[in-house]
């Protein structure tokens, strides 16, 4: 694995100034496939699991995966209960005020709408989204459309299949497998670019650790391994670096 050697040399610089961190605790949600989910044995799996493990290896850190409810994932980070968030979190200005992000590890990827039929008029539709997501925020600002918020993404999808809502808005990467596996769900309307891509979030008082992961992400971008991972987990059509 020549890519790995490249990565470690890039990190040799920053490793020197890293302060003694015994294990790095990575916080994730575990309910957002393909980014992160729990596999049959109850372990964290998905794109971010593979990515996170690789980043830790490159940064020569011992990492531990922990799961936390989405609603309180940032308060628990700033309160020091884990050291980083790697949970499909889009980089937004509001979040930047509270936490520090690494550079993005996926390019800004679009959010999209899915519905049970193609004739849904998004201008007047009832649109489901997960409470507290940037998509919910976006729909609430759409003149004419009616927002219905559900506590978790599965319930939002279920609302469309049962007819409670006309359409769902979510990250396109999340919706692709849903639409593919459903016999009658289709993408409707234009994709909307929201957020500045996905990054890892750190406490603002923890710049060293952030720098280590930032460098590891850079090394994965440089040698192309990140693009391979994106293609494998998020689909060949997903935007790459």
């Amino acid at each position: 694995m020549k890519t790995l050697i490249l990565g470690t040399t890039a990190l040799a610089l920053s490793a020197g100034m890293a302060f003694a961190q015994d294990t790095v605790r990575l916080g994730t949600e575990g309910a957002y496939p393909p980014y992160n989910y729990l596999d049959d044995s109850g372990e964290v799996a998905g794109f971010e699991r593979v990515l996170g493990d690789e980043l830790c290896e490159r940064a020569e850190l011992t990492c531990e995966w922990v799961t936390n409810d989405w609603d309180s994932i940032i308060p628990n980070l700033v309160s020091g209960n884990y050291d980083a968030i790697i949970a499909g979190m889009s980089i937004t200005p509001e979040r930047e005020e509270v936490v520090d992000f690494t550079q993005n590890y996926t390019p800004p990827s679009p959010s999209s709408f899915a519905a049970m039929s193609e004739d849904v008029d998004l201008e007047t539709a009832v649109i489901a989204a997960q409470t507290g997501t940037i998509q919910a925020q976006h729909v609430s600002g759409m003149e004419g459309a009616t927002l219905v918020e559900f506590p978790n993404p599965d319930e939002a999808v279920a609302a469309v299949t049962t007819g409670e809502a006309d359409a769902i808005m979510a990250d396109k990467d999340f919706l692709i497998p849903v639409v593919e596996d459903s016999s009658d769900m289709v993408f409707v309307g234009e994709d909307v670019p929201l957020g500045g891509g996905i990054g890892m979030a750190f406490r603002e008082s923890d710049p060293e650790l952030r720098a280590q992961f930032d460098a590891a992400i850079q090394s994965m971008k440089d040698d192309g391994t990140l693009n391979e991972l994106i293609a494998e987990w998020l689909g060949e059509d997903s935007p790459k670096f």
Partner: protein, 268 residues
Amino acid sequence: MSCWETIADYGLRSIGIGERLLPRSDFTLCQQFVLIGSGLIWNVYFGVLALSAGFFLATTVALGKASSNPVARTLSTWFIFVFRGSPLFIQFFFAYFAFLSLKSVSPVFDPFTTAWAGALVVLFLNTAAYSGEIFHGALQSIPRGDTEAADAYGFHGWAKFRKITWPTMLRLAWPAYTNEAIFLFHATTLVFFSGFPAWQQRGDALYYASYFADKTFNPFVPYPILAGYFILLTLGIIGLFGLVNRRLNRHLPSSVRPKVRFRPNLIR
């Protein structure tokens, strides 16, 4: 923007009057107080309607459980057991699911997948079960002398129930019933939290509190505000029920009147 403008814009936001968009940045304390207070409208709506409708069902169920008719007794006992024996959280889940399935049967059920009707039904049944048990306990402890005296005076049937049994039952049950009322109001916070979706960002006090906690990433401001509102609401309920209690016991000398205290015998 002054706080008065915020009140004008968001004071009734939870019922869809006022500004369409919720505040998105530069959150002020005033906005948090106003919106969480606005959400309280829903908590009061659910609490008041469920409680007043539940009162009548509770009386029926209590009489059913105490009745000599085996069918009425079994039905009432099971009704009380199921609703008191399972968490409200799970009741909401099943209700939402059931209403969704019923929706395809008949359009009559359309409103029940939304919180204002569906959650109200669940809370109504829930409080009816809890209050039914309280009333049943009170029925059992009506002093024998009271009913014997009523018989001696020639009361029977409806007149006896209306004039003797029912008022005595209420009098005995009132302190516990006050607590049930308080807990019902507390339980209304579960509606949007676990059970029903929020439409167009119209939700209850907890919905807005978690909106702010989510946007400001600081749980230490909105939740204590919510807690403050509920302490006030609780005090209001205690005051109101205390007045009713005074009326129920107006024939007794003031020294022996049982006081309504926030002291639960039967709680959720």
